[in-house]
Symmetry: C2
Subunit: 605 residues, 2 copies
């Protein structure tokens, strides 16, 4: 780190002190990381952002400082003035950069004391997450969070550097805006200037970045805060951060090349070793077939195979029925796994959770026959054919699903991931990155309605009169089985935009009401344009090796959406609501009152 | 600009084409800026983000392109393939970088047509602002907005570069949080997870950045979106952007030196010539006395003088009364101004608008006497003394206010600015920058209550038992009479923080409810820390020479807080409100229904 501007608190960073500065007088400041008393001396590990240095207090050399040092406890804040001193060879600590020296203290100034922290700061072990979030300032002092937040800075500044060098302009779009059409719930913001009316927080800057293209900026990006009021699930946050970008006069290859440059630099800066760009592209259909997912994790095998053709004319009613109703039969070879019946049942249950009617398991035996509940229902030829197709060897566990194609893919995809996790199949340190392309434009719901697989502004290819046949000009970037970004070439004419909205069942009036400002702008000369958005929280979490995006954010909400730190959300004064023309619904008010009364009532237990 | 990645749309930027590339074949893309037909040829000024180049269509050389070019109108979008050709000497246009050449077009591809824009794109003249905001994508194409938005990118990236080089980390703080104590109204966000409860949008990241200091990051910054629901006045926006920073183990000089480095780089990048840092510091008292403002515009004279001592024992009752009640008499010399009575009355009215009971004006006559309504009430000695103190020469207009000190300062400060504006006293191209320091910690309201002049987390100096005597460790940065930023050293112990909150009338329970998370964190070892926040919108507007911050933002709200582009704010479905446990108040609902009925009713005109 750069030498700090000398002041009364410090003139050097703790982590910068090495034997090269032996005998220099220095002034350092920070927190008491650890204290040890030994042989009449007091040793303090002093921690600042740069690292840790050992302070040594001698009763003879500096009796006043030594006396004061007796009062030091973990996390007290201090400045120490002293001399950089080489340690004796036997006291060198090779685990820290400053381990060859210590600072022999002459003067100690205590700036603040600290109560005993509710969890240890000097080790990075697991702590109850609610407690961590409630005392986030303390949690942020711990090495793991310090590293993650520093990495996040490096990631975002790297993104900015690459894009600025490529003539992108960072442009801010509004947070108080109109509902946007990403499909999740909007967070609303009551407007005092028009009581009963609301701004909405943006789910993404999608429409604004398209307006910026129509506005002639040609290369835009933003590290943008986005808001989605989704039911808490998986690893989502009410607010999250995207690298959002858009380009004009481009095709898919241009956006992909740009993002490969950005992410290559990010991986290099974050110490992740991925293959050099250009990265492979896999079609949606291939990803769904081979990996059962549109975010395939290709770091391990267990690929899925189409087995349907092997069962034409089968006597096994389950398989015959699946094929007759337009379904598929697919399977994978889980390898030589010893799994008791209980665990096989658990796998079956997992397949069911993903919609499958069941799961066929089979162990290949030495003689090529199967140990399997369905062994008797299948012909020897069918068993041999499947074993061959899945390259089954004696001891291998084969898993087969017969169902609608989407269900079979999803169930087998989930089984792949479960088995990889269960048996540690992902090679240590391996990272796979690839693009998924050629997505369907629409998918049909059970009610026959068409839904956009990406969003309604994605450019389609194909015949608009046959929605099911359309592909979209979309692309997702997948790292280690996580979708870290996605985008598309957009529709740039009002006619096509209106046709796509019509397919989605959005008539002209509704379209005008919801996206009128985009449709209007498209009439005034929109360039061909496209872009992408990358999930920064997820990228940082992956680079930092953290399980959850909460560990990649300084101040996340809990998984429930509440904030244990500030207590948000919280009730507000009725006057504040009157200002915006609102009131709490009577039944909600009754619940709030009951809770308050319950809290105030004397405990009966 | 960097050469674009060649694709089917373009392989060169329009603005990059010069005679050095004569005879090269190029592919350019953009918008029709202007079209001229002359002598059977068609000339198109093609505009992209880099600049403008002339396309020439010859009927003989490229009959197909020439024929198609007939259909081109302003703002159509196209790609042209052709040869860079030197212009004849008489056709060289010295006003644009590409003026020595043109592109002789062989092939034309039209990507999109455009309706006639509602205002001209090819000139930057005044246009009704509502119209500009409604058609913001078109407004953004105009040269002035293009420049302002590019400048904003340069400003923010420069800030980031200087701070990153100085070991600052950019760290994001939440937008969905708990009410913060800046004193304006919060924007609320109803929470579906706890119906009847609310997040609040942050007025600033103040508390979070203090937590980051307690969390050990030591050097934090953020280009942060802030939200204040203020009554629309002056040049405010519901959401605005700050450069927010905070440092640990620092005093005022450290923060000031850091910001001088940042802003010097910003000024250099933005082409503003200010004095080299370090910049002057002026005390709050001096600024209020000499300039009548805590954001003094020092680019012109008309300084204010204390005249009270000249009127001790005066017979003029108005002045005597002011002094007797603890007030002041102050004046300034407006210089030799010919002002008719009507305009003197307007100045008096201006003084009254700022709370003054009246304004004394006097013209110094050749013989040293005054032409003034109060000439007869004053002694010759008093007149001579005031004339001398204000260095009045014959013809000069003197303006005097006798009132409470704060009122006199405010009224004379406003008169100074009005006169400077009226008579063009600010030298062209002059920029003055200075720090205002030594603010009072509190000011007393008419009800006797103490209010924080900055905010309740600012560190005081002096005796906490005498709130009126306390100064704060705050500093504001003032450019050309606009406050562009401000900050302070913060309170870093829970005891002082609680004392300051108590002076403000915030008892322990309320403090715990509102800022408990900060008070709790302060107990665990807070370092000495301080910081500053800079108003990016204002800085960009000043650098770009724009009157309003709306011209420094891509998508501002109108002055009313509404958004003519998206129609926000807008009513929402009742179901959305039910989800968050709210309802529109009955009287508001009635108003909405009446408006809707009015809109739907057949017109009777």
């Amino acid at each position: 780190m750069r030498t700090p501007r000398p002041n009364r608190y410090r003139d050097a960073w703790s982590g910068d002190l090495t034997a090269a500065r032996a005998d220099e007088q220095v002034r350092v400041a920070g927190w008491v990381h650890r204290r040890r008393d030994h042989g009449g001396l007091i040793f303090i590990d002093l921690r600042d952002r740069s690292g840790i240095v050992q302070l040594t207090f001698h009763p003879d050399r500096a009796p006043e400082a030594h006396r004061l040092a007796h009062s030091l406890r973990s996390e007290h804040v201090l400045t120490a003035v002293g001399t950089v001193t080489r340690r004796d060879a036997e006291n060198v600590n090779p685990n820290i950069p400053t381990g060859e020296i210590e600072v022999t203290v002459d003067e100690l100034i205590v700036h603040a004391s600290a109560e005993t922290p509710p969890f240890p700061i000097d080790e990075d072990g697991p702590v109850n997450e609610e407690l961590r979030l409630r005392h986030r300032a303390l949690d942020l002092r711990r090495a793991g969070m310090q590293e993650a937040i520093k990495l996040r800075h490096v990631v975002t500044q790297t993104m900015r550097a690459v894009l600025t060098e490529r003539d992108f302009l960072e442009i801010e779009t509004p947070s108080l805006t109109r509902s946007t059409p990403e499909g999740a719930r909007d967070y609303l913001v009551p407007a005092r200037i028009e009581p009963g009316s609301f701004y909405a927080l943006p789910q993404s800057p999608q429409l604004f970045k398209q307006l910026l293209m129509i506005g002639g900026f040609e290369r835009y990006f933003q590290i943008a805060r986005c808001f989605r009021d989704e039911d808490s699930r998986a690893d989502r946050q009410p607010e999250f951060t995207q690298l959002d970008l858009e380009m004009s006069f481009v095709d898919e290859d241009d956006v992909i090349e740009t993002m490969e440059a950005v992410m290559s630099a990010v991986f290099a800066a974050g110490g992740l070793e991925a293959a050099p760009a250009p990265w492979p592209r896999m079609s949606y259909d291939e990803a769904m077939l081979r990996f059962g997912s549109d975010r395939p994790d290709t770091r391990f095998g267990l690929e899925i195979s189409e087995l349907g053709p092997l069962f034409e004319g089968t006597a096994f009613k389950v398989f015959a029925g699946a094929l007759a109703s337009g379904g598929v039969i697919r399977g994978l070879n889980a390898g030589a796994r010893e799994l008791p019946r209980r665990e096989l049942d658990a796998l079956t249950e997992l397949a069911r959770q993903h919609g499958a009617k069941g799961l066929v398991w089979a162990f290949v035996q030495e003689d090529g026959t199967w140990r399997s509940p369905v062994a008797k229902a299948l012909s020897a030829e069918e068993i041999a054919a499947v074993t061959g197709a899945l390259e089954g060897k004696p001891g291998d566990l084969l898993l087969i699903v017969a169902d609608r194609a989407a269900i079979a893919a999803q169930a087998l995809g989930a089984l792949r991931l479960e088995l990889a996790d269960r048996f540690g199949l992902v090679p240590e340190g391996r990272h796979d990155i690839l693009w998924v392309v050629d997505f369907p434009m629409f998918e049909q719901g059970d009610d026959g309605a068409w839904n956009a697989l990406h969003h309604p502004f994605t450019a389609p290819t194909g015949d608009l009169s046959d929605p099911g046949s359309l592909r979209s000009r979309a692309y997702d970037l997948v790292l280690d089985g996580s979708e870290i970004g996605g985008g598309s070439i957009r529709i740039s004419t009002p006619e096509v935009q209106q046709q796509v909205l019509a397919i989605l069942g959005i008539d002209a009036d509704e379209a005008q009401a919801r996206f009128g400002f985009l449709l209007d702008a498209l009439k005034y000369g929109a360039p061909p344009h496209g872009g992408i958005a990358m999930g920064i929280d997820r990228i940082v979490a992956l680079l930092a090796g953290r399980e959850t995006i909460r560990d990649a954010m300084a101040f996340p909400k809990a998984a429930s959406g509440t904030d244990p730190l500030t207590g948000a959300p919280a009730p507000v004064d009725e006057a504040q609501l009157r200002d915006v023309g609102l009131g709490v619904a009577p039944e909600v008010k009754a619940q709030q009152a009951a809770r308050a009364a319950g809290a105030a009532a004397p405990s009966t237990s």
